[in-house]
Symmetry: C3
């Protein structure tokens, strides 16, 4: 504990400032919103996430911050519960809307307006789903982001004022087509199961949670998680590894695997189920691993379903799989669900819920 | 009040008759069913809606009345709550099923059978959704119509006994295709942002709520709403204007905009949120405007999603957007939701819920 | 009753054994899981269903048993309620996952792993939906099978380690294409409304509930139902007949009709609504018939929706239509819903709920 004294004092000082200054409080809420993308209610995590985005793309950092600010502001203006806003629960969908729209649509003045509307609507959808799901004490996850961004993206073919980027490419599936399984980068095309390629596939998987196709971003994101919860950081890495491994075993497309696209949903499933929404035990760890593995066919399936209109799966596989694995709640005696009001770091949840040994 | 004495007396006399004569009561319930398509529980509104359909298409009026009668009769036979039936809540989906099927399928004897089955099933779906949504005191809106009609329409490719009209045209989306943005009529092709073309786009947007691609129908529908609620008529017009304007700003297809297809979902969103399900305040008015604007990308998105099978979005964008904007309920302090049991005209709701000034 | 004495004694002896021997208890639970595919909580029904599958395809019997065992085992390991497991409620989705995946994917070592994962996940989804639907006391039906199998099947285009069979054939719908309405077999092509062809269409409709495209399988399945409930067997036959008849009237594809594909969803709708989840009266029988008829366009619609990616509707039409027809619950005075805790054979439900005549 002694070694952690200095960071702890900085954190306490920041919390103190946030209570006295509305400006610091707002910055704190925004940073927590960034951290909440991976269930980390911690401003330092959020700051590191921002750094991780910046090293890959200042443009995406900018549109992400726009989305973050607008969705949080919308929550204030609509009179949402202040403590929810302070914990960043109206920010994480907004930041993803901002990044997601800017990745799939060409930069344009109207794109800014589009992000503003999307981020504001993501706050409405967040409150809608929070109310709907409260019947079962279930979390909305990133469903507000997925739903809002899908509607805005699908529409783009009908609007001449916005242009899709090259990432949008409709193509009906063909059963005969051979899948290119060599693990390789899109640009250089250097392939094979090398250590470097595997490292890229692994850490880009963490980076892609926020659409950052970058090994360094992934590493910084992991560090950001670790400052708040080493368990969650471990499960993020485990999820990325299981996602990549499952994709390789199934003979999935090697470009897609290299760029981490089979990893990011697995990362989120693993964090959510491994300690956040179920108390961490070896049983829930195994359960989280199965969810992470299942997110791989789920991602492929949603990609196929959307392939005739060329649209991305976003984090829908994570939302769907995690909902399916969480909804059993107390129905499985082997697992202990965490009430939403008690959700905190995996460490604190474990300490609070597990019976202490005498 | 004095000026409104005569119509009031006619209305009272009608209500009196409806209580004494089962035949008049049935006609009253059917007319209210027509009015409920736009949330107006008023037989005169329903009568004017019928006139509005008739001036555009006697055929659609006929199939609409068939659907209306069958869905209401099904509710009686199944033993649904009588007061719900009397308020037209089992009629509005049926009338839309009748019109929608006849617009997208060629007239045929089997089409009649198809409408009868669809209208009856819409009553089952209405009760199913009413029960499902009662958990959150949420309205079913026109979801029963959308769901039932989608199933019956999608099936048409598999049935040689029914033929789709030219409005059904499958086409996979292509990112490169240019959108024709000139505001113009399908038939003559005369285009441009003229006052006449804008008027067509605006009022056809109201007309298209009941599939009537006709300026005059739109005007009569507006009059029909206004006899029951001037606030709702105002929001209908506001919705149509916002839908058209948003489509023009986004550079949407000019044919589609001219024919009111970017308007009808916005009209319904604006009426529903602007005074009916939230108490009218300047805040809820602004909220309704955002919903109306968001219905434009939502309509385009659902149209794109269904484009590979060439099927219409119907009022699904309205249902989806309005559900998303209503489900927050009391979660937003800036808005006052109206319990379903208290839903009435926007004027009465406002009078009952707003604190009176001394 | 005297004539039924011998079978009754065998049944009692089996129940006795199941209580004393864990091995027999496990076999009993697995057989009930097979029977629950058609709502029959009876080990003898399950045994006959297994025979029905075997006469058509030992391969599908094998993969079905694998799925059955894994999904039931997963429920034990996860600590699900023992009485639910004993009643086969975690088996029926697993057996369908095993058969469904093996029908649409080529046999392969990885297919075995795929079935194991799918069957285990179907148990998770079953518990998720059971918990979700408990809010309305609604059954999950075969939704866990449909959802899990769809995700695993859709993904196949992305995985080179698995190959789809010829049954997977993407094709965008075309409004002009003529439907081949002659009732005929795929292999020989001998067509026409002959008694033999009608019998094939009818009984294969029952067989296809478990993907068995075989007249004899259908007959054995009917016998399996009849040993537990003659009412359910009657409704299975009624559903198959209504499905086939509706398909013929609508001019549906004759191959599809011959092979029972318009029947299996109708069979399940008819059994579920005709006596199992609503007390059997002449009104609920009529209601079940309408549901069975409506399942025909619902099947065609879902097939069309999935045609661009070439994927099968599975029992989604049954799940959707039955949910829509059950969700009204007590909202229709003409029908008496059966609480899930009271669901048994149609005969017992009728005896318990109908007022006895003095």
């Amino acid at each position: 504990m002694a070694a952690r004294g200095a960071p702890r004092r900085v954190a306490d000082r920041w919390a103190d400032l946030a209570q006295r200054s509305p400006a610091v409080e707002a910055v704190d809420a925004l940073l927590r919103g960034l951290g909440q993308v991976m269930f980390q209610n911690n401003p330092l995590t959020g700051l590191l996430f921002l750094v991780g985005i910046l090293v890959n793309s200042p443009k995406l950092a900018g549109t992400g911050l726009l989305g973050l600010a607008v969705s949080t502001l919308a929550a204030y203006l609509l009179g949402a519960d202040r403590s929810l806003i302070r914990n960043g629960l109206f920010g994480f969908n907004g930041v993803l809307v901002g990044i997601g729209l800017a990745l799939f649509l060409e930069l344009d003045l109207l794109l800014g307006v589009y992000i503003v509307i999307g981020a504001a609507v993501s706050t409405v959808v967040m409150m809608a789903l929070a109310n709907l799901l409260s019947t079962w004490d279930m979390p909305a996850l990133t469903a507000p982001f997925v739903l809002t961004t899908w509607l805005l993206l699908f529409a783009v073919y009908q609007f001449s004022a916005l242009q899709p980027t090259d990432l949008i490419a409709p193509a009906a599936p063909t059963p005969e087509a051979a899948v290119q399984t060599d693990l390789r980068e899109l640009a250089t095309g250097s392939g094979g199961l090398t250590l470097a390629n595997l490292a890229h596939g692994l850490f880009r998987g963490v980076g892609e949670v926020m659409f950052e196709d970058n090994l360094l971003s992934g590493l910084i994101f992991l560090a950001g998680i670790a400052v708040n919860s080493r368990i969650s950081a471990g499960f993020a890495l485990l999820g990325a590894a299981l996602g990549l491994l499952t994709a390789l075993v199934m003979g999935a497309d090697g470009f897609t695997a290299y760029h981490g696209l089979y990893g990011f949903n697995a990362v989120l499933c693993a964090i959510a189920i491994g300690g956040v929404f179920f108390v961490l035990t070896w049983r829930s760890a195994l359960y989280a691993a199965v969810a992470a593995i299942f997110s791989v066919p789920a991602f492929a399936a949603i990609a196929v379903l959307l392939s005739p209109i060329g649209m991305p799966a976003l984090t829908a596989p994570f939302v769907l799989v995690t909902w399916l694995f969480l909804w059993p709640k107390a129905g499985f005696g082997a697992l202990t669900p965490v009430p939403l009001a008690d959700v905190s770091t995996a460490e604190k949840v474990r300490a609070a819920h597990l019976p202490r040994r005498p």
